[in-house]
């Protein structure tokens, strides 16, 4: 029987998928000089279209319901995450555009894969059963494996791609095995059906189900780069092309956490006494590992990678809270976090292009004075990561702590506070390098393969525009918090807390 298909609900996915197709066609149909511009434009239009479509679906969906024979779900929770993914993709295209000198190969494929990854992510956050979940997960993961290795002439990039492929596949395999165990125990694939089966058949203590649940949490932990499943993160983030890292850090984390919250709350609501503790422990581990490891990093991308591990910890506090406030907190947190993460990696990318080598924290010296727009933006992003007011990072932490309070877990708040204090030195070390030291302290001559000959820094209009947009989101989400919270609340209402 052919199920009726709600094309409108699928439109964000289709927009990005269509963009991927167009971008791929430009690789063969458009002459070399125009190829990059056309492919990037196609991807940008796809992401912008997906953003609009997701906003429309959000607006026209009052009550969540299953579509396409219940394989997927159309609700505000999913579309909210789709908007974040599409917005991140749009910024990622702008950051990528000046990534390499004109006329390089694989430019069209690059944008095609970026749009395809976005489509897979949008598919994943609206997944409603274990099958579509795995499909979406692999869809975007495979796109990202290739994107990480796209700079084939850079050794680090190949290594990153391979590492991501192997460890990511391992994570996917664990998730798949867990799904199989859950299916074997309950005989159901749909999230809601699993919950019904657990309560109807009294499976709460079924070892098969519990093992499956643990393996699903593990698999999603790999994708969210939560400790102790984070070991691929620093290497992959360091080796991958920086715009890809920026996109991964924002969008992959978004979808992994949003999906984790969806499946845990919808399918395993009956087991919440177990998984909330497990997620809280993972959150604490991520906060500890991420922040402590970041303290000793010298490479800027590795530092930001560990920082993203610690932020996964913060957002997992919201997941562990398992309440309405937690849903709001997670969705809110993801907006400034994605903007700050994309923006911070973009600034690092700008410095890397300027220097022609991977940037260490010391390499950022004096950048705040040389390129004040990027400098002020990076300063804001770092303050936002710490949770300073005047950035959305403040409300993110505030709401996460509120969720923990509503749950009655003040100890988890205190863990978060200690983690924030530990994180201060390394975030401020970046600000210190950019503003408190001068460029004269840079020692380029010995280390850089292509020493910079001086002169004004390159003008990357699109990258600067993306950074300014990320800065705008970061700051605006502090001042106009009410509309975002209203949206996040409506979205979180879609889940059966």
């Amino acid at each position: 029987m052919k199920p009726s298909i709600d094309w409108f609900a699928l439109s964000p996915v289709l927009a990005m998928l269509g963009a991927a197709g167009v971008a791929l066609l430009t690789a063969v149909l458009v002459p070399g000089a125009w190829r990059r511009a056309v492919a990037a434009l196609a991807a940008a239009l796809g992401f912008a279209g997906a953003l609009t479509a997701a906003a429309l679906v959000y607006g026209f969906t009052d009550h969540g319901h299953g579509v396409v024979a219940d394989a997927m779900v159309r609700d505000r929770f999913g579309t909210f995450a789709e908007m974040i993914v599409a917005g991140s993709g749009l910024l990622a295209v702008a950051i990528s555009y000046d990534r390499r000198p004109r006329g390089c190969e694989h430019e069209a494929e690059y944008y095609a894969l970026l749009a395809a990854a976005g489509a897979g992510m949008a598919f994943l956050v609206t997944a409603n059963n274990l099958m579509t979940l795995f499909l979406g997960l692999e869809w975007f993961s495979i796109s990202l494996y290739i994107l990480c290795a796209v700079d084939v002439d850079v050794v680090g990039s190949l290594e990153a791609g391979l590492k991501y492929l192997i460890i990511g596949s391992f994570g996917s395999a664990v998730l798949l095995f867990g799904s199989a165990l859950v299916y074997g125990s309950t005989g159901q694939l749909g999230f809601a059906a699993i919950a019904q089966a657990i309560s109807a058949q009294g499976l709460r203590d079924d070892p098969l189900l519990l093992t499956g649940l643990a393996m699903i949490i593990t698999g999603l932990g790999f994708k969210a780069s939560a400790a102790p499943f984070h070991m691929w993160t620093p290497d992959v983030y360091e080796g991958a092309p920086t715009p890809v890292t920026a996109f991964m850090s924002a969008a992959t984390k978004t979808v992994a956490l949003v999906l984790a919250m969806r499946i845990l709350v919808t399918a395993f609501g009956a087991e919440d006494d177990l998984w909330t503790i497990a997620v809280a422990v993972i959150a604490c581990a991520s906060l500890a590992v991420g922040n402590l490891a970041a303290l000793v990093q010298r490479n800027a991308k590795r530092l930001l990678a560990y920082s993203s591990v610690s932020h996964a910890g913060f957002m997992l506090i919201a997941v562990a809270a398992n309440n309405q406030a937690g849903g709001e907190a997670l969705l809110y947190y993801l907006i400034p976090y994605s903007a700050m993460s994309l923006g911070a990696f973009a600034v690092v990318a700008a410095r890397e292009r300027e220097l022609g080598k991977p940037a260490t924290v010391d390499d950022l010296s004096g950048m705040g004075w040389e390129r004040p727009v990027l400098g002020v933006a990076m300063w804001t992003f770092m303050l936002g990561f710490v949770g300073f007011p005047l950035t959305g990072g403040f409300w993110g932490k505030f709401l996460v702590f509120r969720a923990a309070y509503d749950r009655g877990w003040i100890w988890l708040m205190l863990v978060g506070v200690v983690a924030t204090v530990v994180s201060l030195p390394y975030y401020l070390s970046i600000v210190r390098a950019m503003f408190l030291r001068t460029g004269a302290e840079l020692r380029l001559a010995q280390s850089a393969p292509n020493p910079v000959a001086g002169g004004s820094p390159p003008r990357e209009r699109l990258l600067t525009a993306a950074v300014v947009a990320a800065l705008g989101v970061t700051v605006a989400s502090f001042f106009v918090v009410q509309p975002i919270i209203d949206g996040a609340r409506d979205a979180a209402n879609a889940l059966p807390f």
Binding site: F388, W395, F398, D406, V417, L424, P425, R432, V481, Q482
Partner: protein, 502 residues
């Protein structure tokens, strides 16, 4: 209409900061513009002072807009008597320091003046916020410009100093964040006027953690000597004169007003820390080898004294604490600017290398003497009135506290006279040459108004001490009916003891 006054006081410098950052101004124009904005800010404050009704209980110039309605968080600002004086201190000191920065010709002028203006707005926001989240946001927002101001324009050891400074203060204020969240959520609102009192010691201690670091109180002052020595003189002036008073506001508006029970329970430990800080800071100030070290440690001592006044929980102590905050703010700002002037002329602040600067430099000598005499609390000075009120207040908590306070005042005389004689008198130091000029007219234009404010306060200290709180102090702090923070105040507290400098 009047509600906008507070908002203007907050937003005017912030808007000025945005203009300085975005408009392509030359160094000279950026400085002039920033100074203009700072003076306009003083004008707005004078307007507020004229319109302020000191006879009225409760909050004035109030403005309230919902920010996050779900949690009853709002942009809620307004001024009490004591907030008005603290804001006044801020705008005057900020105008003077911006003027000083302009005169000295700080490099990277647009960034510098923008940050100074942003700092002005943030500090005014702290002193006028009536919502806990807004208070926390403004409290933290002060750190953003300060971090770069200390770190980018400071001396050789600035990097270490800033790291210490930020980690100390952030550790304190993140504990406050937990307290803000727990307190606000348990009360159902974050509004300082609407919330009632709480009896939770843990929440109280979270707030206190932030304030004792910010003030700082012994033993949380590890960041102080480094930051005050390594920052540029005008930034040190702001740090010790203005920013430390955020802790006074926090104690007054949050810790004491909202936690009457815990404030009483923890009264003795806090008074002990304040007393230790008072004596220890004074002794260190007496031993400090450099001009700025003396002022830095004397700030530690003075903040201890102010805390003694705050935690005496009676009219005299609270009045004295506010008066002393304003006086100390002006004194330490003036002294830091004078220290900067001396350092510019001699390239050192080492007291051993200074001396004999009074000869041929009458303006410098007069201003330093005048400020120093106020600082050592000569009878008749504003600082004397403040210290007397504080001692009279804390005397009601036990005579021993007053004895400690009185001893420290003697020590204050010792360190102030030491710095005056080491700089101005004795033989000309090896770093003092004839090329070291007297204060220039521009410096006089900056310093004379500050000293004039101090002299005016000395003539009429009751302007602040009698106008900080209306008669009903409990109502002034927005506390609920039946509030018993000051049970130790006898109904017949002798009015003449309160020394209104009559």
């Amino acid at each position: 209409m009047n509600g906008w006054l507070t908002t203007i006081l907050i937003l005017l410098p912030m808007a000025g900061a945005l203009v300085v950052w975005t408009a392509p101004l030359s160094r000279h124009r950026a400085g002039s513009f920033a100074l203009l904005v700072a003076l306009a800010e003083v004008g707005v404050w004078i307007n507020a002072l004229v319109r302020f009704d000191f006879g009225q209980d409760g909050i004035q110039f109030e403005q309230r807009t919902s920010w996050l309605g779900d949690l009853n968080i709002s942009y809620h600002v307004g001024l009490y008597g004591f907030s008005l004086w603290l804001v006044g201190l801020t705008v005057v000191v900020m105008a003077a320091t911006i003027g000083y920065g302009f005169w000295v010709g700080r490099d990277r002028a647009r960034a510098y003046f923008g940050l100074m203006l942003l700092l002005t707005g943030a500090v005014v926001a702290v002193f006028s916020s009536q919502d806990l989240v807004l208070f926390y946001a403004a409290f933290e927002a002060m750190m953003i410009p300060l971090y770069v101001l200390v770190g980018a324009w400071g001396g050789a050891g600035r990097l270490r100093a800033t790291v210490k400074f930020v980690i100390y203060t952030m550790a304190g204020s993140l504990l406050m964040l937990v307290s803000v969240i727990v307190f606000g959520l348990s009360q159902g609102t974050f509004d300082l006027v609407d919330t009632g009192a709480s009896g939770s010691s843990w929440i109280f201690l979270g707030f206190v953690a932030a304030f004792v670091v910010k003030a700082p109180l012994f033993p949380f002052h590890g960041w102080l000597p480094d930051a005050y020595r390594e920052a540029s003189p005008e930034v040190s002036a702001v740090l010790s004169g203005v920013v430390s008073k955020a802790a006074v506001y926090g104690f007054l508006r949050v810790a004491i007003a909202k936690f009457p029970g815990p404030a009483h329970d923890f009264k003795v430990p806090i008074l002990v820390l304040a007393s230790i800080g008072l004596v220890y800071g004074s002794l260190l100030a007496f031993r400090a080898p450099d001009f700025r070290g003396v002022i830095a440690y004397s700030s530690l001592a003075q903040m201890g004294l102010i805390t003694l006044g705050l935690f005496s929980f009676n009219d005299a102590g609270l009045d004295g604490a506010v008066l002393q905050s304003v006086t100390h703010g002006l004194v330490s700002a003036t002294l830091f600017l004078l220290a900067g002037a001396v350092e510019r002329r001699t390239s050192t602040g080492e007291l051993a290398l200074l001396g004999g600067m009074a000869r041929g430099r009458p303006a410098l000598a007069t201003l330093l003497m005048a400020t120093g005499i106020v600082a050592l609390a000569v009878p008749g000075s504003a600082a004397f009135a403040g210290e007397f009120l504080i001692l009279a207040g804390v005397f009601r908590q036990g005579w021993a506290w007053a004895v400690v306070g009185a001893v420290a005042i003697v020590l204050a005389a010792m360190y102030v006279l030491r710095v005056i004689s080491a700089t101005l008198h004795e033989r000309p130091g090896s770093a003092v040459t004839d090329a070291a000029l007297d204060l220039r007219p521009a410096e006089l234009a900056i310093l004379v108004p500050l000293v004039a404010c101090l002299l005016a306060l000395s003539v009429w200290p009751a302007a602040v001490s009698e106008r900080s709180f209306p008669r009903n102090r409990a109502a002034a702090l927005g506390a609920p009916v039946g509030w018993t923070v000051y049970p130790l105040r006898p109904a017949t507290f002798p009015r003449d003891l309160e020394l209104k400098a009559k």
